[in-house]
C-alpha cells in the first residue's frame, strides 16, 4: 500500500471544522462530555510535564485560562513561553462553532531549562529535538518529518493507516482495528489519546505514551474525562477524504475539516468495540458495525457519572 495517496492536486482550503449531530439526544448527552474531555486534555498537557512523563508540552489556552493556570504552573516550578496566537477550533479545546472565533495563546510549558531548549529547537525547526522534548515516540517524530514536512501533507491519516496492519478493500479503502490508545481519528472533535500524530494505528510507543497520560489523568482527578475519552475512542469511526475535504463519521456526529486534495476518495474505517446508546442507526460503516450497547452509553467498568 503506497504511503501517499495518488491523484493529489493543488488546493488550499479555508480553515474550518464543522460538526453535525446525529440527533438532538446524542448532542444533549455527548456535547457536555466532549467539552469535559477537551478541558481535561488541556490540564493533562501540563500535568504530564509536572509528572515527569515528558520535558515540555505545547498548550493552547485562552487568556482567561492563562490567568487560571499561570499560578498553578508557577507552584509546580513550571514556566511558559508564548509561541503563537491562534484562532481556536474544537480540536484546541474551544468550540468555535458556538463562540465565534476565540483567540488562544500557544505556549510551551515546562521547567525553565527545558523550555529554553525547546524554544531553540522551534527556532531552528529541529523536529527531532522538538519531538524529544514533547515526549513523542521517535518513530512518530520521524513519521511527522517524512509525511508532514517532506511529504507536504496536512493530514497524516492515510499514511498512518497505510503503515498499519489492516484489510485493503481496494487501493483507496483501509479497514483496520486498533487499540483506543492509538485512535487519533477523533482529533478534530477534540478527543485524542496522545498529543502526537501516531505513525501507525498499532504504534507501541504511542500505546505506552497514551497509557502514561491516562495514568497521570487518574492521579489528578481527571479519571472521568479519561473514561469518556476511552469510551469515545472505542467506537467505530470512518475518515474519508475527497477534494480537500475530510469527513469523519462517528456514531453520534459527523465532522468536516480540510485535508489534502485528492481526486479520488480515500477511506479509513476503524472498527469499534462498543457503541453508544445514543448512536445513530444508519446504513453502512460505522453504523452497521454496531455492537451491543454496554448500558448508559459507557463501558461497564466506568464508575463515575
Amino acid at each position: 500500500m503506497p504511503m501517499y495517496p495518488d491523484h493529489r492536486y493543488e488546493l488550499t482550503m479555508p480553515t474550518f471544522t464543522r460538526i453535525a449531530w446525529a440527533s438532538d439526544h446524542a448532542r444533549e448527552v455527548w456535547e457536555p462530555r466532549l467539552h469535559a474531555v477537551r478541558a481535561a486534555s488541556l490540564d493533562l498537557e501540563w500535568m504530564s510535564v509536572e509528572a515527569g512523563i515528558r520535558p515540555c508540552c505545547i498548550a493552547t489556552v485562552t487568556p482567561a485560562e492563562m490567568l487560571r493556570l499561570a499560578p498553578r504552573w508557577l507552584s509546580h516550578d513550571l514556566t511558559s513561553h508564548l509561541v503563537d496566537v491562534v484562532n481556536l477550533g474544537p480540536e484546541d479545546g474551544s468550540d468555535a462553532a458556538t463562540t465565534g472565533r476565540p483567540v488562544g495563546m500557544r505556549l510551551i510549558v515546562g521547567r525553565l531549562a527545558d523550555v529554553k531548549r525547546m524554544v531553540r529547537a522551534v527556532e531552528a525547526c529541529d523536529n527531532d529535538t522538538i519531538g524529544l522534548m514533547l515526549g513523542y515516540p521517535p518513530c512518530c517524530t520521524e513519521f511527522f518529518r517524512t509525511v508532514w514536512v517532506e511529504g507536504d501533507m496536512i493530514d497524516t491519516t492515510w499514511p498512518m493507516a497505510a503503515a498499519s496492519p489492516g484489510e485493503r478493500a481496494d487501493e483507496a479503502t483501509i479497514q483496520l482495528e486498533s487499540a483506543w490508545e492509538a485512535n487519533i481519528l477523533w482529533r478534530w472533535g477534540g478527543v485524542r489519546p496522545v498529543p502526537s500524530l501516531p505513525c501507525r494505528f498499532d504504534c507501541p510507543g504511542t500505546l505506552s505514551f497514551a497509557r502514561a497520560l491516562a495514568g497521570v489523568a487518574r492521579d489528578n482527578d481527571l479519571g472521568e474525562a479519561m473514561d469518556w475519552t476511552r469510551e469515545i475512542l472505542s467506537w467505530p469511526i470512518k475518515w474519508s477524504a475527497l477534494h480537500g475535504i475530510a469527513e469523519i463519521t462517528t456514531p453520534i456526529c459527523k465532522i468536516s475539516t480540510p485535508t489534502d486534495a485528492t481526486g479520488v476518495r480515500y477511506t479509513v474505517e476503524r472498527e469499534g468495540t462498543t457503541y453508544p446508546d445514543e448512536g445513530a442507526r444508519g446504513l453502512g460503516f460505522p453504523y452497521t458495525s454496531r455492537v451491543a450497547p454496554t448500558g448508559a452509553g459507557r463501558p461497564a467498568d466506568v464508575t463515575s457519572a
Binding site: Y9, L242, G244, I245, R281
Partner: protein, 393 residues
Amino acid sequence: MGIEVRPLGVKCNIQCRYCYQEPQRDAGNARMMYDLPKLKKAVEEAGRAFTLFGGEPLLAPIPVLRELLEIGLRKYGRTDMQTNGTLIKDAHIDLFREFNVAVGVSVDGPDELNDVRWAGSLAKTREATAKTHAAIKRLCEEGFNPTVIITLHRGNATAEHLPRMHEWLRELDAMGVKSARLHILEVEDDDEARGYALTDDENIAAFMGFAALEKELKNLSLDVFNDMRNLLAGDDTKATCIWKACDSYTTRAVRGIEGNGQSSNCGRTNKDGVDYVKSPQEGFERYVSLYHTPFEYGGCKDCRFFLMCKGQCPGTAIDGDWRNRTRDCRVWFTMYETLEQEALAEGQTPLSLDPVRKQVEDRMLAAWLSGSNPDYYQAVLDARAAAAAQHHE
C-alpha cells in the same frame, strides 16, 4: 428558508421505487410517532410559513392536521402541503379551504406512466394513480390550482412515453395547474432504482422536449427552465435551492421539523439514512473545492456554467458523496448550452459568456471562503456597471 414539517417523518402509504427517503426507512429511522405539543411548539417558533411534508403528510389524523394548519393560518397566513394526493378526501378539501392551504402533488404522469410510484400491486398502484388524478382535478375545480412535482424515469420519459406526457401536461395546463417541477431521478450506483433511471441522452431529450412544450402552455410553467434562464441572465435571487450552493450540513433552503419537534435538514443528502440535526455553522467548502477541482476528478474547474450551476444539488452528487459535483452534469450542461444559445439569439449576453464572469466568480469565492453565500445578482450588476464605466472612459 422553506420549513418542512414532517409529522410522521418519512412514513408513507405508497412505496415509490426511487424514493430518496428510502435510506432512512432502510436504516429504521422512519418515525411513526409524533409528539404533538413539541411539534406545535416547533411550528409556532418556526417564524415563517411552512410546508406539511412527509413521507405522506395526510397520514396524520385530521385533528392533528387541523391543529397544525390553524397555527399556519394564524401565524403565517397560509400553509403549503406536498402530498401524493391519494388520501385527499372531502374533509381535507374543507381543511385546505378553511386554512388557506396551497397544495403540491407529487405524480409522474397518467395511468401506467405513474406505475413506478408503486402502491403494493399493479391494481393498487393504478387505483392510487386514479385517486391522485381525481384529486388534482378536484383541487382545480375547487379553485386551488395545485402545483405538481414530476420525477423523470424510464416509466414516463423515454421517447415512447414523451408524447403521452406532453399530452398530459397540456391537460394539466387546461385544468389550471400552475407550475410543474421536473426532477431527474435520484439514484446511487448500487441502488435498486438504478434500473428506472434515464440515460443522460434520454434525460436531455426529455428536457429539450419539455422546454419546447412549455412555450405552448398557457398557465403551466416548468420552473427549472425559468430558473436556468434567470441564472444565465445574472439573476439568482429567485432561483431554487439546487442552484444556490447548498451546504449539506445546514441545507439553508430547507429546515425540517420532525414529529418530535427536532430540527433537521433536507433529506436528499441523507445517503446513510441518518437524519442529521442542522449544524450550528454554515460552510461552503464544497463550492471552493469544486471550483478548483478538475473535471475528471468530479469537480467543476473551468466550467463556464459553474456560477449558475455550482455543481448542483449535493443530494445528486456522484457516488452519493456531497463533495462531488452532480452526476447529472452532462444533462444540465447541455441544457445550459441550449438556453445560452437561446439568450444569444435574443440579443442577450448570458453570464456564462460575459467578460465579467471571472470577477463575479472571484467575489463568490471570496464570500464562500469567509463563510457566507450571497446571491450573485448584485455582484453581476456591479461588475457590469464597472465594465460599462470603463468602456466609456
